[in-house]
Structure formats: structure tokens, C-alpha cells
């Protein structure tokens, strides 16, 4: 049969961010695929070397448009480790609260995108409506719906009053009901199952080969989660489950993400209940001593790693960022092998790509 080349991207209605694919198609079947990234490369690692430690906080928050807070947090943790600064417990809890809200926000956003791509607009509407609740909470907390600018070196810039805390708990109660509803739909709705089951399958062996992290890895049976595996405050004192499935397809990834959102709402509630009293910032030295630090955080899409090296000046000598999407991207050529043309959109959205993250 003759092969037909189908270009997808860098600008394409299917893709929310620029990324280019060239698919070779025989009939309806994809037989080969090539990919190109880099269309939103902003040279952030180089820019970091030319800005002060505090300026970088705001630059790095713009690595990603969804999990912005987690980047600033991971970077802050690395710099604080270099300075030898202990962050006050209240600040640690507030940071984690935003991390968890961000996870709910990211997973609901993704659920909307995948539902939209398989033509299930009802889930899309409900998921994005409920995501508004999270965005409202984040806006109340920080003043920003996407970029929060909450972190500062040594702590956080915001605080919660008791009244505020009660309001958030009420909103979380609504969110809980809504996410349980969505989980029920995703689990039992046959249309959703038939479009996602068996699509984009990755085996545990492939997950290991390509060093995949996050929900994609957990949907293939790899039981990893940095919040539990490298327990740090506040996660060492909280109770939460890590949903793991073994099917390895988009269906399993959906279950992992929606179940994770349920866990995250519960984590938010625990964080608010246990929120310690005290200051929200620690005093930090003016200079960062010479040294290096490596910090890892579980972002909504998996492990984010920052390497920061200081040469004692007011600017970092090197900042390295690795985002979870980069590892998922490597697996795409295997996932796209032999899929039906109509399933390409399911595969591409199934891994929850964040191209801005991967390109930096």
C-alpha cells in the first residue's frame, strides 16, 4: 500500500501548544512517526545565569503555564538548601497546598482536553467548570489564577486568615462532590472506555527503558511518587494513596489522574486542618554561598528536577531544569506505532504533554 505523509503541527487545532509530527500512514494505520520540538524554546537556562536568584523565581514560574508554582517551589528548595535556610512550617504547608490545588487544576484541565478530543463534550464542560473552583481558590490565595508568585526565597508571600480557611474548605467540599461525579462517569461510561481502552499502551518495561515518570508511569504499574518515596515535610505527616493501574493505556492514565485529583483534594483539606501557626518567611542571607543543590518535586505530570550551582555571586552559575514531559515525549513514537489515524489525538493528549515545559 502507498504511504501517505500526514503533517500535524506545529500549528494544528489538535495541539494546544506548538509541536510538529510527521506521520506516515498506510490506509488508516500509522506506520512511522517523526517529531520535532523546540518551537517554544525560550533559552531559560541561559537566562537564569544572567538574572539574580530572586528574579529567577519569577522567570522559572513561567516555564509552565499550568504547573507554574511547582517550578518556583522546586527552585526555591534548591536555593534554600544552598543557603542552609530552614523554611518555617507554615510556609511549607502553604506551598504544598498550592501544589495540590495545582495538581487538581492540571488533572481536571487534562480531563477536559481528552474528553474534547474524543468528542465527549459533556465531560469537557463539567471538568472545566469544576476547574474554575480551583482557579478561584488559587486566585483568592495568591491574586493570580495561573502565575501565583507566592514563593519567595525562605518562605511564601501570602497568608491565610481563619475565615479564609473556612471558605476554602467549603469550596473544597463542592469540588469533592464534583470530582467523585466525574470519576463515576469516567469509570462507567462506555463511550469513554471504548475510545481510550487499549490505546497508546506502554508496558512497564518501556516505562523503565525511557525513564518515564508521573501518572503515565503509574498507569503502567510503576509505583513511584516522590511525595511518598522521598518523604519531606509536609507529606511525611499526611495520609494519601498513590493510585496505580497496570493496563498502561489512556484509559488507565485517566483513572490514575482522576483518582489522584480526589487524593489531592483530601490532601488540601488535611493541609488546611493541620496548618501550623507561625511566621511565613525566614530571614535569608544576602549572598548564596558557593555550592550545588539538586531538588526534586512531584509535579502534576511527575518528577521535576532542578540542579542549581552557585559560585558565590548574586547570580546562579548554572540552573538546569528537567520537566516530566520530556520523558513522555520520547515514548510517543512507540505509542503511535500501528494506531488508527482517529486514535492519534487520543494518544497525543493521553500523555498530557506540556510543550512549554519540555522546551523551556
Amino acid at each position: 500500500m502507498t504511504k501517505i505523509l500526514v503533517p500535524i503541527g506545529p500549528q494544528h487545532p489538535l495541539l494546544k501548544e506548538p509541536l510538529a509530527f510527521q506521520l506516515s500512514v498506510e490506509g488508516e494505520k500509522v506506520v512511522e512517526s517523526a517529531m520535532r520540538i523546540g518551537y517554544v524554546h525560550r533559552g531559560m537556562e541561559r537566562l537564569c545565569q544572567e538574572r539574580s536568584y530572586v528574579q529567577n523565581l519569577h522567570l522559572l514560574e513561567r516555564v509552565c503555564g499550568i504547573c507554574s508554582h511547582v517550578h518556583a517551589t522546586t527552585y526555591s528548595r534548591a536555593v534554600e538548601a544552598l543557603m542552609g535556610v530552614e523554611v518555617p512550617p507554615r510556609a511549607v504547608y502553604l506551598r504544598a497546598l498550592l501544589c495540590e490545588l495545582e495538581r487538581v487544576h492540571s488533572h481536571l484541565l487534562w480531563l477536559g482536553v481528552i474528553a474534547r478530543n474524543i468528542g465527549f463534550d459533556t465531560i469537557f464542560m463539567y471538568a472545566w467548570r469544576d476547574r474554575e473552583i480551583v482557579l478561584d481558590i488559587m486566585e483568592d490565595l495568591s491574586g493570580g489564577r495561573v502565575s501565583h508568585a507566592v514563593n519567595t526565597l525562605g518562605g511564601v508571600r501570602v497568608d491565610l486568615t481563619d475565615e479564609h480557611r473556612r471558605e476554602i474548605l467549603e469550596q473544597l467540599a463542592t469540588l469533592d462532590v464534583q470530582i467523585e461525579l466525574l470519576l463515576g462517569v469516567v469509570e462507567h461510561e462506555r463511550t469513554f472506555h471504548s475510545r481510550t481502552h487499549g490505546v497508546g499502551r506502554l508496558t512497564l518495561e518501556q516505562i523503565h527503558r525511557y525513564c518515564v515518570v508521573g501518572p503515565v508511569a503509574r498507569a503502567s504499574g510503576l509505583d513511584i511518587d516522590l511525595r511518598r518515596d522521598a518523604p519531606d515535610a509536609p507529606y511525611d505527616g499526611l495520609e494519601f494513596g498513590v493510585p496505580v493501574h497496570t493496563d498502561g493505556d489512556v484509559w488507565a492514565r485517566t483513572l490514575v489522574r482522576v483518582q489522584e485529583a480526589v487524593e489531592s483534594v483530601s490532601l488540601c483539606r488535611q493541609l488546611l486542618d493541620l496548618l501550623p501557626e507561625g511566621p511565613t518567611t525566614a530571614k535569608v542571607p544576602r549572598r548564596v554561598p558557593t555550592g550545588e543543590a539538586i531538588s526534586r518535586t512531584e509535579a502534576p505530570r511527575g518528577e521535576v528536577i532542578y540542579y542549581v550551582r552557585s559560585d558565590g555571586s548574586d547570580k546562579p552559575a548554572r540552573v538546569k531544569v528537567r520537566t516530566p514531559t520530556l520523558t513522555s515525549l520520547v515514548t510517543l513514537s512507540e505509542q503511535l506505532q500501528d494506531v488508527q489515524m482517529a486514535d492519534v489525538s487520543v494518544v497525543l493528549s493521553g500523555v498530557d504533554l506540556c510543550i512549554a515545559c519540555a522546551d523551556r
Binding site: G38, A81, R209, C211, D229, A230, I294, K320, R322
Partner: protein, 158 residues
């Protein structure tokens, strides 16, 4: 729930003793790095064997990323492995025509990491099947942009 903290300390000792056995005449510089990592310095020629020990003998299969760093008198590569805690391998390469063996055979997931180091630092990974730029535009003809010798000045607009 597994006890990851104990496991992490044991893992470190295991790695260090395995390396001491495999490279008896090498001075293994190991240093603790915050938040939760140990950095082990190795000669570039020992990298593939060290990775084989980590992945095949000790089951440390997750490579988080490779960091390149231009130290002016040499280029440093850091291979960040993770298994309950971090194990980072450090190798130093000469600043002119830096070359090192690829890890593609042991960890296929390095494909993008190595391409990125190649375009940003000009390090050639010998044996990499598809060594071309990853992020830079196709018409980029400047020097590797993360080298400290590469200027960041913008050309004046005509």
C-alpha cells in the same frame, strides 16, 4: 509502605562499594549534595561501566536527566540517577572537542538528554544513532549557546 530513608542510605553504600570493587585504582570522589543526593566523580572512560553496574547489578534504572555545565577549563556532565534518593555520576571532559560514549544501549531514554547536551555544549556522544539538535531552530548557526564563551548580545536591529 517501604522504608525509603533506610533504603536510600543502604543504596548509597552499595553503590560506593560496587564502584570501589569495579574501579580499584580510581580515587572516587564522593560528596553529599543537598537536598538528598550523593555526587560521585568518575573518569569519563568509566562512565559506561559504572552505568552498567547501576542499572544491571543494582537495579537503579531511573536516570532523571543529564546536566551539562561549562566550567571554562573543563565541561562537566552530571548524570542524575534516582532510587529512593539521588545518585549522581560526575564526569569531566576537555573544553575543546569534548567527546564521551553514549548510554543509549543501556538506557534508551537518554536520547533527548544527550541531544540537548550536544546542541547546548557541543559534546559529541559517540555511538548515539541520531545526534542532531533538539530545541534550537533549524537555521541556528551560532556556537553552542550554553557555553560561557558564547555571547548573548543581540545584533542591532537594522
Amino acid at each position: 509502605m517501604r522504608d525509603f530513608v533506610t533504603q536510600a542510605t543502604e543504596m548509597r553504600d552499595l553503590v560506593l562499594s560496587a564502584f570501589a570493587k569495579a574501579f580499584p585504582d580510581q580515587e572516587l570522589g564522593a560528596r553529599e549534595v543537598p537536598v538528598n543526593d550523593v555526587v560521585i566523580s568518575l573518569p569519563a572512560a568509566a562512565l559506561v561501566e559504572a552505568t552498567r553496574i547501576l542499572t544491571e547489578e543494582l537495579g537503579i534504572v531511573h536516570l532523571s536527566t543529564i546536566t551539562g555545565d561549562d566550567m571554562v577549563d573543563h565541561i562537566r556532565l552530571l548524570y542524575h540517577f534516582w532510587h529512593g534518593s539521588g545518585v549522581t555520576l560526575e564526569v569531566k571532559l576537555p573544553p575543546t572537542e569534548p567527546r564521551i560514549a553514549t548510554l543509549m544501549e543501556l538506557i534508551p531514554g537518554v536520547v533527548f538528554y544527550e541531544r540537548e547536551i550536544f546542541e547546548m555544549y557541543g559534546v559529541v556522544f559517540e555511538g548515539h544513532p541520531d545526534l542532531r539538535p533538539l530545541l534550537l531552530p533549524e537555521d541556528w548557526d551560532g556556537p553552542p549557546p550554553l557555553l560561557r564563551s558564547s555571547s548573548n548580545e543581540r545584533e542591532p536591529q537594522a
